[in-house]
């Protein structure tokens, strides 16, 4: 079953786990952007979530509390963004970029005592009897609970945005804040809550990196995952199921290139390392080329002030 030294079953199982951080962060950002807010600080919220999750998991010994801590840390940082853009009406692009730089610095500072320390392990959710089944075992049953959580979130957000009243209000606010305000919806309050949700999701994604994917702690642990999450939201036309496809595409290529490196591919390592970024961007361009309306929320990136 090996193809050039790569086992496809293991490959699929690994890509599902490796895609979790960007999947969660991109889902959160999808909700934020659907509400009309462009938060470019995903990378910063992820890395702060990674630190918060790591510290709490190490100190308490509970990975579960660690993920909650990651969510809280990400949400708190996003509230800085929310206060600046929704209350003080600062420019969203500049504030988002600043948030990323701030988050990276903050996590370097806070993580200094933790270099090289390993967090408590997050185990596999289902019993070995299921996980040991051939082929379907590793792919469907062999994961930790966060992988299932991320998949459940895809379905939940799809359903909330499509079929519920709160989803309708979020889309309405992102589509035309003037109209939503005229109908009596509190535009900035709704956006603030979406921003906090996006921050929490990015924080959980970051915590998955520090607790599962790359322990022990290293500085700059996210390595650009937040930027890819932002790109995937656009590539997915702001739709949760397409976010899943985008995240798995990126995760798949990342895992594949690692495996190719191990298998001793003739392609130089440098090219393999840049492949996931390059291919994701190429796919993104192809997907969005030639389409007139790409489904972007009409008020995306515009601040709202109820002055009329």
């Amino acid at each position: 079953m090996d193809l050039g030294g790569i086992n496809p079953v293991i490959l699929i199982a690994t890509l599902m786990a490796s895609a979790v951080p960007i999947l969660l962060a991109a889902l959160g950002e999808t909700v934020v952007e659907r509400a009309g807010v462009l938060n470019l600080g995903v990378e910063g919220m992820m890395v702060v979530g990674a630190l918060g999750g790591f510290v709490i998991a190490v100190e308490t010994g509970s990975p579960m509390l660690g993920f909650i801590g990651g969510a809280v840390a990400g949400a708190l940082l996003s509230l800085v963004f929310a206060a600046l853009t929704q209350v003080f009406l600062a420019n969203q692009v500049a504030t988002g970029l600043a948030l990323t730089l701030f988050g990276l610095g903050l996590s370097s500072l806070g993580g200094q005592g933790y270099n090289g320390i390993k967090p408590p392990p997050t185990g596999q959710l289902l019993p070995d009897a299921l996980a040991d089944l051939p082929v379907v075992g590793p792919i469907l049953f062999g994961h930790d609970w966060m992988v299932y959580f991320s998949l459940v979130m895809v379905a939940v957000l799809w359903w909330v945005l499509k079929a519920t009243r709160i989803g309708l209000i979020i889309r309405a606010v992102g589509e035309s804040h003037e109209a939503a305000h005229a109908l009596g919806y509190k535009v900035n309050r709704i956006r603030l809550m979406c921003i906090a949700f996006g921050g929490a999701m990015a924080g959980i994604g970051g915590a998955y990196l520090s607790l599962v994917r790359v322990p022990p702690w290293v500085d700059g642990i996210t390595a650009g995952a937040g930027w890819i999450a932002l790109a995937i939201v656009v590539f997915a036309s702001w739709k949760p199921w397409r976010v899943l496809i985008g995240a798995y595409l990126f995760g798949g290529i990342t895992v594949l290139q690692l495996n190719l490196q191990v298998a001793g591919s003739v392609i130089p390592v440098e090219y393999l390392s840049m492949a996931p970024y390059l291919i994701t961007i190429i796919v993104l361009v192809i997907m969005s080329a030639g389409r007139k309306s790409n489904g972007a929320p009409a008020s995306l990136g515009q601040n709202f002030h109820a002055s009329r």
């Binding site: 309708l168 889309r171 035309s176 005229a182 109908l183 009596g184 919806y185």
Partner: protein
């Protein structure tokens, strides 16, 4: 008849001040059940602020309101809706990327399941002769259909008082007739209607009572049927009105020629232009009518040079310019004034001097060796301010700080004072008070009298009939054959505008 009906809403001594302006001062009036009551006044007279207070969007500084016998002071629109007050907005209350049912649900307190809501939308739309498909995207609907969405959104909540803010400004004459039939039906069922407009003929034919506002104060109440339109207009303006005079110029050779121009729209949910052809001679004013969203913005872009086509599709004085951009077209003698003041016609955060340079730099020679001639630009801006009576502290004020009407006067002056041979204007007097509108129309006629070819795109039919020599209608991106204005009737114009978009049928059936 009015006296026998119980009183529904009484507004007493309502006052609302914003920094620098008093929007409403001590305003009082009353509406009884089933009455159609007009709120009449110029732009900025305080009509919109008044109804926003009734609808709970704005809180009055002082004064009281009584609704169905009890004190009424809604803190937010949801409370107003619960009390039985509904409002159809002039702009900004529909979501283009959502479908009809979703738009309706957003304006309701406790919307039912989508499937049930769709059924109720169908039922109500048939009952009132307003056909509408709940699953269609609002972005694909015509202006008239969009208004139906808003009306149905209100009707589903069984309102006691329906507020309508300038409902007919986007409709064809036939659509207006159908809207009025619906409103009369509602009134006979006991729903009161508060109708805001500055169109006097409409108010005469529809409304039972009228309250006239001027600069935030109630200046008169009257029964519109017993007054002439002129009497009401003078109450509204507080002065006698002057009609623009046409200076008879001699028509010369063709200055602007457009033949078979087709371009795709760059605007989401926009309308592409399909085979547009017309010519405008020197000294001629061509008026282009049409309901908003039928290609007006696109036509302006294609003429100004923001949208390019092949060279021979657009000709200025016989020279092909279709493939040239705005700067080269200005050099060739064409200036254009788009509709959107804040962002398209003007850079809102730049000063009037800077804005004057942005379009007039080329024709007025306001650069020296590649540097901006600020002294010359300032002189030009001051000339505009003086000639067009722009109320501003000075030319260094940001464009955003001017009121809509004042900025419009400045922008019109900027284009009209460049001595261009071809002038294209979209909505010259939108949001401008009557006296200023008359001044702008007069200067359009003056430029034509001096030999310029002018294209005026507008949704105000009275304005077009006043200034144009020839008349055409844009309908779904196609332009009708231009014809002379003399002898043109409202009915003919209505038919040129595409009638009522299939609405008559529904009314006969329902």
């Amino acid at each position: 008849m009015t006296t026998t009906r119980p009183e529904l809403l009484r507004v007493e001594g309502i006052t609302k001040a914003y920094p620098g302006v008093v929007a409403n001062a001590d305003g009082s009036f009353a509406i009884s059940e089933g009455e159609i009551h007009a709120l009449l006044g110029e732009n900025g007279a305080g009509k919109s602020t008044m109804v926003k207070m009734i609808y709970g969007l704005v809180r009055p500084d002082s004064g009281t309101m009584t609704f169905r016998g009890s004190a009424y002071q809604p803190a937010k629109p949801a409370e107003a809706r619960r009390s039985g007050v509904a409002m159809v907005f002039q702009h900004f209350s529909l979501f283009e990327a959502l479908n009809v049912a979703e738009n309706v649900a957003l304006g309701m307190e406790n919307p039912p399941q989508m499937r049930e809501l769709a059924a109720r939308i169908r039922a109500v739309s048939e009952e009132y002769g307003l056909p509408l498909d709940p699953s269609r995207m609002v972005g694909d609907l015509s202006a008239g259909e969009r208004q139906r969405v808003e009306i149905i959104r209100c009707l589903l909540q069984d309102p006691k008082l329906l507020i309508m803010d300038e409902p007919t400004s986007v409709l064809t004459p036939q659509e207006v007739e159908i809207l009025f039939r619906t409103l009369r039906q509602l009134s006979s069922e006991g729903t009161a209607i508060l109708y805001i407009s500055h169109k006097l003929e409409e108010i005469k034919s529809l409304c039972d009572e009228a309250t006239i506002l001027r600069r935030g104060r109630v200046v008169a109440t009257c029964t519109p049927r017993e007054r002439t339109a002129r009497e009401m207009a003078e109450l509204m303006v507080g002065a006698t009105l002057k009609t623009p005079e046409r200076r008879q110029g001699v028509k010369g050779e063709v200055a602007l020629g457009v033949s078979d121009l087709s371009v795709a729209s760059p605007i989401p949910f926009g309308t592409s232009l399909k085979g547009i052809s017309f010519t405008v001679a020197k000294g001629e004013v061509l008026g282009i009518a049409g309901v908003a969203g039928n290609g007006q913005d696109e036509l302006l872009l294609a003429l100004s040079g923001e949208l390019r086509s092949s060279a021979d599709k657009v000709r200025i004085a016989g020279q092909p310019v279709g493939d040239l951009g705005p700067v080269d077209r200005r050099k060739a003698g064409l200036v254009a004034a788009p509709e959107d003041r804040y962002g398209h016609a003007a850079a809102p955060d730049m000063s009037l001097v800077e804005n004057a340079f942005l379009t007039a730099g080329v024709r007025k020679g306001l650069t020296k060796n590649g540097f901006v001639d600020w002294a010359g630009t300032r002189r030009f801006a001051e000339e505009i301010i003086k000639a067009y009576d722009v109320r501003t502290p000075g030319p260094d004020v940001a464009a955003r700080a001017l009121s809509g009407g004042n900025l419009q006067k400045f922008l019109m002056g900027r284009e009209l004072m460049q001595g261009a041979s071809v002038i294209v204007i979209n909505q010259p007097t939108w949001g401008v008070d009557a006296a200023a509108a008359a001044a702008i129309r007069q200067s359009i006629l003056d430029r034509a009298g001096e030999g310029a070819a002018v294209v005026v795109i507008s949704q105000d039919l009275d304005e077009l009939l006043e200034v144009s020599d020839s008349f055409a209608v844009l309908n779904e991106g196609r332009l009708t054959r231009p014809r002379t204005v003399e002898g043109l009737t409202m009915d003919e114009i209505g038919l040129m505008m595409g009638g009522a978009h299939g609405m008559e049928v529904a009314h006969h059936a329902g």
